[in-house]
């Protein structure tokens, strides 16, 4: 096990820079999830850590040792690929043992290690099978087993769940999390699915266009997003964004309502107010939004309502039993302390 440090990491393909000097410290045993839309540089970062690609600039250190010039095999890492990359011509035992081929261990020790890993993953009965005889989830487990067998300092997961169906994904998510609690190795996990990030991570790294937008615990990035991008990216359905203006120390919304958000807002500045759908509901408070219901999505215990106002659609949560009808004009309100305030120009959080 070891910590991981990234310093000013830059990656350029010809003239296109895809990583613009990112820095990050990952503690020993931490489960860190890189999340972001496709093309944000998260997989590139992972491949740089793995040594599958060379960094253009910056430094990567694993366990205090700079690994930039080391081959992947010398970096003490193991990687699980999106396509699993388990070899179809080998049995499960051979696949799991593949990572030990170059290890200086006796055959008996290797076999014992394979059995141990198979036991942890609940695959002891499947060791003699070929990958074609396994289900998607089992193949994924073989891929994880092959990574585990070497007991690497750092595990790298590259979107390992994205090929699984929804139910299996939830199950594997839980299994990987349990596995981490059991073996305790440092894990870097890349995904584009914010739910995976939220549910699994000790800390989430949100990336966009080759920059880190925010690093924090799931609670931090959810409750204190650093900017509008993070605010929208984390949480489903996405956070609603409303515009307003600071006038005489108070916030004047486009709907006409005036909100007192306390001191500290820049006078005369355009503001974006973020409010999560679960915080926004029909009621009698100050009207953040007022408009007709366009769509209802009943979820049972509650109903999502889409309200058209000021040229955009706002999502709110209404009671599951007596939701407003489509076409009904509603007033949506939220408690002041649930509002997120962003600078409209830069998108950065103001408080």
């Amino acid at each position: 096990m070891a910590d991981l440090a990234i310093r000013n990491l830059v990656k350029r393909y010809d003239k296109t820079e895809v990583l613009h000097g990112i820095s990050l410290d990952v503690e020993d045993g931490e489960f860190v999830v890189f999340v972001g839309p496709s093309g944000c540089g998260k997989s590139t970062t992972l491949r740089l850590i793995a040594g599958l690609e060379d960094a253009t600039g910056g430094e990567i250190a694993i366990g205090g040792r700079v690994v930039n010039n080391l081959e992947p095999k010398d970096r003490d890492i193991a990687m699980v690929f999106q396509n699993y990359a388990i070899y179809p011509h080998m049995t499960v035992r051979k696949n799991i043992g593949f990572g030990l081929r170059t290890a200086k261990m006796s055959k008996a020790d290797k076999d014992a290690r394979i059995d141990e890993v198979a036991g942890i993953l609940g695959m002891t009965d499947l060791l003699a099978r070929k990958p074609s005889q396994l289900s998607g989830g089992q193949r994924q487990r073989v891929a994880i087993g092959r990574a585990m067998v070497r007991d690497p300092a750092v595990f790298l997961f590259d979107e390992p769940l994205s090929n699984l169906d929804a139910q299996l994904r939830t199950q594997m998510r839980l299994e990987i999390k349990k596995l981490h609690q059991r073996v305790g190795n440092t894990i870097i996990f890349v995904t584009h699915d914010q739910v995976e990030a939220m549910t699994m991570a000790d800390r989430i790294v949100i990336m966009r266009d080759g920059h880190i937008q925010q690093v924090g615990t799931p609670a931090e990035v959810y409750h204190k997003p650093a900017n509008t991008f993070v605010a929208r990216f984390i949480g489903a359905p996405s956070m609603n964004m409303l515009s307003g203006m600071v006038e005489n120390g108070a916030l004047r919304m486009a709907s006409g309502a005036t909100l007192d958000l306390g001191a500290g807002l820049p006078e005369g500045r355009e503001i974006t107010i973020g409010v999560r759908p679960e915080d926004l509901h029909p009621g009698d408070g100050p009207a953040l939004v007022r408009g007709p219901v366009t769509v209802r999505e009943p979820l049972g215990h509650e109903t999502l309502i889409y309200v058209g106002a000021e040229g955009q659609e706002v999502i709110a949560k209404a009671d599951g039993r007596t939701p407003p009808n489509v076409g009904e004009v509603v007033t949506l309100t939220a408690a002041v302390d649930t509002l997120h305030v962003f600078d409209a120009a830069t998108g950065d959080a103001l408080r």
């Binding site: 793995a50 179809p88 081929r101 193949r139």
Partner: protein, 291 residues
Amino acid sequence: MTATEIRPTTDALLKTEAPKKPANMGQILRWMLLFLGGVAMVMPIAYMISTSLKWPHEVYNLKLIPDEPHIENYTYVLEDGRFYWWFVNSMIIAVITTICNVIFDSLVGYTLCKFRFPGRYIVFIAILSTLMIPTEMLVIPWYLMSQQFGWLDTYWGIMFPGLMTAFGTFLMKQFFETVPDDFIEAARIDGLNELQIWWTVAMPLVKPALAALAIFVFLGNWTAFIWPLIVTNSVEMYTLPVGLSSFGDEADVAWELIMTGAAISTIPTLIVFLIFQRYIIQGVVMAGLKG
């Protein structure tokens, strides 16, 4: 197979009850064309075997069934010491050339496919362009080269032009494209060197292509005629096709013996095909990927 799969589905039951559609004209025409094609393919082989069972005086009689079928030709050919030499020569040459092609073509194909290096494309085009030069044009340079190096009338002389082929390289490169990079990167992380990755990971994944290549190369060399004819002088160095053509004398070609030798010489090709065809049929590459 599970029990549920054996039970006929409603669809299947309905199908068996439905009246049979009469074959339409298009279908009849298709079958006839296929039948004619089949006859065209089988006739030479049928005549080969038929001729091998005839006496010399019957050879030019086009009857398919000989009047007095006999196996004297087979005993003669098999008891003739030269035939064994030629058979062994052909076998050695075809086997070694096949092994070399499987290794070298796939090594070069793999390199061209999976490594990024300056000039990669030019090398590939250069190899491909050699496909456009007919063998007949190369025979004279090959001969002059063999003469200068003292390779005339040797195994090496017969084999060297075919130890690596542009076609094989191209075939393997295209097939390695179907091997996902994830496999190779995973092996790299697991600590294998590039040669080990090629041999233990990439090669097993392209078995169907290797089998196809092996069949092509083996058949090509087993039946090769022009170059072995030119480069060999002594009867002991002849390959089977060259040797068979020498049966008989200037005045009379012993067709019945040539056909007998030809019939025997098809046996190894059949065996090679039977061994490798199952690898061609099974496509294994995708099984380790997402299900």
